[in-house]
């Protein structure tokens, strides 16, 4: 007659016979655990111990030692969630730069018609209507914006684009340096590297956007897309007063600022981020 042992649900550790770690393995396992936990803290310690003067040498050495392990296992995080302060959001707008008179249809079905030749270059025609896929695309207007919760859905997809726009802004390196900055050769070398990477990323994203916005042509290997220019936008965080007293909406596009690619304008003066001017939007409770 078969039997069944009685269940014992009293404790997690008492069920007998439990699988214990073989004695001779214990030291080895504990050492490996110690190694792994050191690797986990190596990046945040290094990240936190950096200042304008230096990186703390012992944490820098720890991070260097563990670099292959930390990086390949994707443990290289500083865990700076919403820290040190919640900051402004950054968006990326793909602006069309078509040839004069060119007519085409974007991939999301917006019929563009004949595109006007003139518009103020920095005049980003962003408004709430850009969220409407049927908007007319004109020279200088936004063809594609991200993150945009109406275009990128589900929310996780939207968040992927959001992270890319933040990354694009984080790695930004201006197209030129101010004369004062050119005196510091180390700074210039770092800028050159950063600028090279930023330009590569910009080119890659521009090509991808052009492809997305183009009408695929089956006769060609790669579809011929419109010219696209990427513009970085920043949405500063509004104050309580702006939202609750002045009635500004969180998504009010008047808040968006175009971030310059260069610290200089042709006259030689440095520029401040440009605030966009939009038609007034009825204010209301957010």
């Amino acid at each position: 007659m078969a039997t069944s042992r009685r269940p014992n649900q009293e404790d997690d550790h008492e069920e007998s016979p439990s699988r214990r770690c073989p004695r001779k393995w214990v030291p080895c396992v504990l050492v490996l655990v110690g190694f792994h936990l050191l690797a986990v803290v190596a990046e945040p310690l290094h990240f936190f111990s950096r200042s304008e003067v230096q990186s703390s040498p012992e944490f820098a050495a720890l991070r260097r030692t563990f670099a292959p392990y930390v990086e390949w296992l994707y443990l290289d995080h500083g865990y700076f969630f919403f820290a040190p302060n919640p900051g402004p959001s950054h968006l990326v707008a793909a602006m069309l730069v078509p040839e004069a008179g060119q007519t085409w249809t974007s991939s999301f079905g917006a019929s563009a018609g004949s595109l006007p030749e003139t518009d103020t270059p920095n005049r980003v025609g962003i408004s709430d209507r850009h969220l409407n896929p049927k908007n007319q695309l004109a020279n200088g207007e936004i063809a594609y914006l991200f993150p945009d919760r109406t275009r990128q859905w589900p929310r996780l997809l939207y968040h992927r684009y959001f992270m890319l726009s933040e990354f694009y802004n984080n790695v930004f390196a201006p197209s030129e340096l101010l004369p004062d900055d050119r005196q510091d050769l180390e700074f210039v070398a770092r800028w050159e590297q950063d600028r090279e990477f930023y330009a590569l990323l910009q080119k890659s994203m521009t090509n991808s956007m052009a492809y997305r916005l183009s009408k695929p042509d089956p006769t060609m290997d790669r579809p011929q897309g419109p010219g696209v220019n990427l513009v970085r936008l920043e949405r500063p965080l509004p104050t309580v007063e702006q939202i609750l007293k002045q009635g500004l909406r969180l998504n009010d596009s008047r808040n968006l600022e175009v971030l310059p690619e260069s610290p200089r304008i042709p006259s030689g003066e440095s520029v401040q981020p440009q605030r966009l001017k939009f038609p007034s939007i009825p204010s209301g409770k957010p």
């Binding site: 078969a2 997690d12 296992l73 865990y79 919640p86 929310r155």
Partner: protein, 384 residues
Amino acid sequence: MTKEAVSTNESSLKSALRTVYSNLENFFLAPRTAETLATLRIATGAMLCYIHCIWILDLTSFFGANALLNLEVLDTLHAKSYKWTYLASSDSLAVALIHEVLAAIVGVLLAVGFATRWTSIAAWFLTLMTVHRLTPFLFGLDQITLMLVLYLCVGRSASCWSVDVWLGERLRRARLRGAQLQGGKGTALSKSSNGQPNGPSNGSANYSARVSVHANGTPITPESFPARVSGIVRWMGWDDDGRACWCNTLATRLIQLHLCFIYFFGGLGKLRGGMWWDGTAMWFSAASYEYQSLDLTWIGYYPIFGAILTHITLFWEVTYFALVWPKQTRLFVLAIAVMVHAGIGIFLGMITFGWMMIVANLAFVEPKWLRRYLLSNGKPNDSI
């Protein structure tokens, strides 16, 4: 110092070291059952599947020749690092599609606990490959999900609530029936304590309730199967009898400690910011349109409430690593964790991240509590 004093000091030092060693061993390696890890496995596997489905949804933007981040950029980005992925060796969309579909399927298999020993490793590896290909698109969700699946590879999370357990039982039963038909010498189906044959596992990780035995008391083990079958059974992990195992404790402790580090450094980061001190961080988080999913700007009408929420979040995060261990404070700390992450999910649009952080916090819930809670239809009868 006399020789006796030196000898006494040495022996007390050795004794202290032995105590430390023994405590470490007990902390990391004392066997425990797998209910907690099984819960994490189900949630993590399902989330991995969802994550990969999202990559597939907009595949041409993430992979291929026209990806937002082409291989040249990726090479430069990873030039001085040890990040490697086979997805960076070709911009073939077909390879990427196969990879992502496979990863989504493996996520499902992990969630249901099929061949978990292998699917957990596969899920981790495939996700890691994607992560190294798409680094600029990632955020906390990917960090926490990859962390969980890494540690799930260490534990035996399939010891309960898994297809592996169900298959193992079916195989044992089939073997028993075969033995009965061939002569039936002293074998029969195992029975539970109420006299009913054991069906597919009801979720309990009880070794005793699940093991079928011959009449002579010998458990039916893989060796009881023909050699070829027993090899497969072992290889697939279908021989798991649900016993408490040291691997489960090791995996759980690693998750717990990793989570403590995340909160501790996250809290330290916030301590550097003025908004977390002056109480406005909650407002500015709520006022970020790109994050917002539900309107939380009404919090601006109640500045004291906003400041209290800010400071609770700050102090909870900084002290999490210390207060989550004692049983007296654990429930309180975990309750705040659930509220904070539910708030992030509901109001700040990161439902996936908020959910996975809540799931990760389950690592601090004892298996016995989960077992009792889930098997008594939602009536816990013990503290966490």
